[in-house]
Amino acid sequence: MLPQLITSVRCGQCYSHSDDHCQGPPGSSTMAPPSMVSTEQRQHAEHVFLSFRKSKSPFAICKTINLSLTKCLFVFPSSLQKYVREQILLAVAVIVKRGSLDKSISCKSIFHEVGQLISSGNPTVQTLACSILTALLSEFSSSSKTSSIGLSMEFHGNCKRLFQEEGLRQIFMLTMEVLQEFSRRENLNAQMSCVFQRYLALANQATQNVTLKPTETWREALLDTRIMDLFFTVHRKIREDSDMAQDSLQCLAQLASMHGPIFPDESAQISYLAHLVEGLLSMINGIEIEDSEAVGISNIISNLITMFPRSVLTALPSELFTSFINCLTLLTCSFGRSAALEEVLDKDDMVYMDAYDKLLESWLTLVQDEEHFPRGCFVQPAIQVFNSYIQCHLAAPDGTRNLSVNGISSHDEEEINELQEDDRELFSDQLSSIGMLGRVAADHCIPLLTSLLEDRVTRLHGQLQRTQQHLMASSDLGSVDRKVLDDLYEDIHWLILVSGYLLADDPQGETPLIPSEVMEFSIKHSTEVDINTTLQILGSPGEKASSIPGCNRTDSVIRLLSAVLRTSEVESRATRASLTELLSPQMGKDIVWFLRRWAKTYLLVDEKLYEQISMPLSTAFGADTEGAQWIVGYLLEKVINNLSVWSSEAELANDTVELLVTLVEKRERANIVVQCESWWNLAKQFASRSPPLHLLSSSVQRSLMKALVLGGFAHMDSDTKQQYWAEVLHPLQQRFLNLINQENFAQISQEEAVKQEIVATLEALCGIAEATQIDNVASLFSFLMDFLSSCIGLMEVYSNTPETINLIIEVFVEVAHKQICYLGESMKLYEACLTLLQVYSKNNQSRKRSDATAEEDQYQDLLLIMELLTNLLSKEFIDFSDTDEVFRNQDQGTPASSRTVSAADVVLYGVNIVLPLMSQDLLKFPSLCNQYYKLITFICEIFPEKIPQLPEDLFKSLMFSLELGMTSMSSEISQLCLEALSPLAEQCAKNQKDSPLFIATRHFLKLVFDMLVLQKHNTEMTVAAGEALYTLVCLHQAEYSELVETLLSSQRDAVIYQRLADAFNKLTASSTPPTMDRKQKVAFLKSLEEFVANVGGLLCVK
């Protein structure tokens, strides 16, 4: 170390008295022209600088060097390799940083000198100045870019704070100076524009933050309108250069996000915003926007709409506000069109799509706060944006979809794989915004959608008829031109998606309400509406809407639903005419998706939930109305038809069965459903396992079973109910029992038909479990229990067929998952699970696993077993059962003889199976890893008393797993492991010392101590780690003191030593001697928070 430092000092001295000689040929190796610098020499020089950065107390040396530093920076030959220059500057920045804290180097003088460099007017020198500022900025401003120089995070943090108060503004002002100068020039040559670009990038960096929230000290700098004007001017000058334009727009976007104490009052904020909007408008209105500007401009707009309070926005002069909204409208429509073009051209970089998304999001923000703005001010803009969206998504001649610039439409048939998201999810943000705008302008948008959709449906009907005739003549499907059909399908696709998003929301877990705008719209027109004609339109989906007399006097909201029903009807009729091959499964999905979303909101509309209700809507869809009954029947028919026709389209069948579940999951709707004959037919058909329902995929069959069971809990008289269950569940049981009770079952069990029957039964059982609700759990559980014991028998029979074994375990997983929290008599389930595990274990004793070709789903059974065990344990946390029976108490309280099986028995038995099979390789599979750690944490938390009783090797691998999880897995898993430690330590405290668990916890004490004190850890983990630490400290007080002593004794710096020692004293002051007491623990955690804030950065070194 020493010789290197001496070299550095010598270099420094050399620089310090060399003002004149610096102009001449460089005298030392670092200053030699690049051609003369050998690799070795360069490496040496680099080494010197690096040693600077690493050495612990270079302040004195730095001081010596300091004076000369900035002077010598002049001397860099312009040809010096960029890399070397940047390295040197970085070292300089580090030196400045080190010197800054003890004031041995003053930033002021550096900025002064840099200022001189800038004013030199020499582009080369200015570039150098820019590099210096950039280096300083990146060294000081962010913790990620900070060089690793072996100093505490606390030091880095202090530097950053100090720098932000002073240095940053200096840099900003210097940068502004350069930009000012450049913006005044008429022409920039290549070199100068390069310098310009660097400064612009620097300005961007200096203001870079998520949002700009400068302190009051920046007031003078940033509230000066000339600064904002400068950025607009600069942008105008360089906007054709896409890289520079991005920087300048980003700067403007930052200015648009400005908020906080910099504004002395609201009026300052208003005039700032007014100036910004004026500047923006004059910038946009004068130009044709470049591709590279789209995202930047939309960021500016989005920032100002999000960051400025509504009161400030509305306080803008009304003309200015109107111009802004108009400009935003035009811009949105234009970006939307360009985004559509990008899609046609299949561009990789969808800049307009991003910009369009941003603007639509801004609209949503504005419209959601509509009440703050002048009434109706968004209606016209909403109409324009909505129209342009529709236009971009419809085919010519009404729309422009797939039209490239020259007006030629493209129609390519690309391969779409199953992973591609459906448009309704892919574009859900856009569609939400458009739906919201559609509501704002409901008067225009709802009738528009209706007439467009009705028109497309009529055309689709005609086209299908013509195609049918064509097929009668030629019967060759290949000869059908699908272009016309596909265009219609795509039009209908978008119209239905927009209608769905306009008419209803799809909130998770709560009852969706009819949007107030839609309700008001319907009410407003209800006096002009003829209810009977409306109902007639609704009830005749097979007829053309326009052919019904008086069709203009119908409720538009109902009419839009009717248009979708007409689409659905054309589809259904085509399937009956054997034209299914011509139909679009995508359109089929759209229809049932819409109907489901609609039904959740409108069907059996509950008047109590609304302040006022539309007569047409309540007459058509209210409770106890013919309309509601009719539509339930219609939807059921649709579902049944789809399930038989579309079994080969998995997603469509899935969407369809989801519609069915929606119809029965609410008791009120289910009450109507079970009155329909078709529902009973569906139930019988499914129970008989006859075609076409048995062709459905397993997940669809499960959901179908779930729906059928849910329906069984609707209101029926007791005879009917009995009959229903006799139709739905009993056949399942009968068939199953008949089959497995055959004498030769073991022999025929491998026959495909028998296996299929078994698999179908198991799937159905999962579906039944899924239908569990709090009020049906008792009857469903007793029904399922009968099966569970038979299923265990199947484990033996099918021990050779892993897929069947997995399915059997899955049944248990589902039952435990859905029912355990409600069960008063969970004992039976524990018993069944224990037997299941015993059989599994017996059958797997000799089974070898070849790790070579390890694949996640090879371990499906392990995953399922862990899931099962975790589900069983979850009762400890979530228990809705009436009885107070808590299994753990029972385990301890009742005498062993009367006790049967406890959760602990099952889970520990399961762990005995799982633990030996879990290898480190297996933990590389995320799902296995997560499930495994979830399980072992649960066990430690719930049965800590069982842990010391584990067999030695099991115990060891459990402890190893915990350590591994704590130290080398994701933070989520690390947190789980930390949570497992406290209960283990508490358990230890109760029992004998020097048990293996006691020794293990001592090891964990050191691990947690190091983690909290020495390593940079996730702050979210502080609480979990703190709790673990506290209980471990209670258990091992002597060892803890030792750890603290060792740490303190390794400190060389007396100040740091004292601070640390004080901090450690304070940490345990409130809890001496530490005891396992909640109050003390809370006090400790609080002190720990202070400890981490105070000295946390001191020991953590970067």
Binding site: E413, E414, E415, I416, N417, E418, R482, L485, D486, Y489, E490, H493, E581, S584, P585, Q586, M587, S647, S648, E649, A650, R689, S690, P691, H694, L695, L696, S697, S698, R735, N738, L739, Q742, N744, Q747, I748, Q750, E751, E752, A753, V754, E757, N800, T801, P802, E803, K842, N843, Q845, S846, D857
Partner: protein, 160 residues
Amino acid sequence: MGNTQSIMADDDFTSGDSGASATYPVQCSSLRKNGFVMLKGHPCKIVDMTTSKTGKHGHAKVHLTGLDIFTQKKYEDICPSTHNMDVPNVTRKDYQVVDLAEGYLTLMDDGGETREDLKVPEGDLGKDIEKRVASGENFMVSVMKAIDDEHVVGIKNMTS
């Protein structure tokens, strides 16, 4: 047996241990991963199954990837999801190993019937079997049968 008949009423084959047809048709969409299917004339276990469509409004096609259950060779096929695919009847049965002579095993089923028509499989599995027989160990093998082929596919320890 009456009940099994009704289960199978929809299928175009009759039940019985020996009379079962070698394959039966299944709608492509209702095949599942880890199930069996005939690919290019080979009985395969499905290791991957994905769907795709041509154009947004096209109908689903199923891409099947399977490994020949005997040779482990990979086969692939694409078919419209509405079409039927042949599924082989695959059965597994465990036998106790009695003897090994000239590359052929003597096996006994749980009814005491013996057979001597199955070869010792190639590779590690075969070596393992030979070693166990040589050391006089009591053990069982799993035999898988599909189409007209039958092979020893695994070793099991005696369970009882």
